[in-house]
Amino acid sequence: MAELDDIIHQPLRLKIMAALNALPVASGLEFARLKKLTGATDGNLGAHIETLAKAGYVSVDKAFVGKKPQTTVTATAAGRGAFARHVATLQEIIAGKQV
């Protein structure tokens, strides 16, 4: 029986992973774009990205575009796998295979 992923299950982290997973493999989203998509605050988003990064689910790249710092977050292969399993578990719960 599959289990929900406790790291992904948190609502904002679920949104972050869903957004990153919707991109082509190895494509990432800029922090500002992710903030807009999830409706999160800077601090909250930063903290949850850190949690996902510690779990190895996302990679964070910081670079300078001109003089502006730009942070790009990308789902790793492990993160994509964990997200797919989490979604499958949610579907199983709805289908009544799990409670």
């Binding site: 289990e3 929900l4 406790d6 299950h9 609502p11 679920l14 949104k15 869903a18 957004a19 997973n21 919707a22 991109l23 082509p24 989203l29 774009r33 998509l37 999830t38 979604v87 949610l90 579907q91 719960i93 709805i94 009544g96 409670v99």
Partner: protein, 188 residues
Amino acid sequence: MVTAMIDSKQAAEALAEIDDIVQRVRQSRLYELASLAAIWWGVLVFAGNLVTWAWPLYAGYAWIAVDVVGVAGLVALRVFNPPHHAYGAAFDIRLLLVFVLFFAFGYLCTSVIGQFGPRQQGTFWPLYFMLFYMLAGLWFGTAFVAIGLVITALTLIGFFYIGAAFPLWMAFVNGGGLILGGLWMRRI
């Protein structure tokens, strides 16, 4: 670590949340690509109208160049940004076919069925282009409809009220409008 336990209602809510964010990401990526296309066409249309206004004798050549370079740019955009699914081909020949049909029908209207003068041509093509833009917007996002409506309205104002400077008006309204619209789409 405590494993989360949820019921089917909460699971359905989580899946709906995922669907919603996936839709928003797709919309955002679509606007990103569409903004590049709009800016590309905007620059070309601005140049085409400027040539029409400053050197009317070369207008015909300028617009052929604008159309060829414009379509080539869109094809390149599509090739370098293939769709995000396994069955998507790197280039879809239907895209090219759409433009062939688009220009063929426009030519039929302006030069075969009707004999449009430069002013009518300068009005018809932006209106025709914006009609498709707005129709696409009904499926792909309201920004297309908004940009199409504004450019259509300003084109008609120019047609009825602007005199000899009409091509210059269209450089800013159509070319500038597409550039500004493209930049706006990036911020949505």
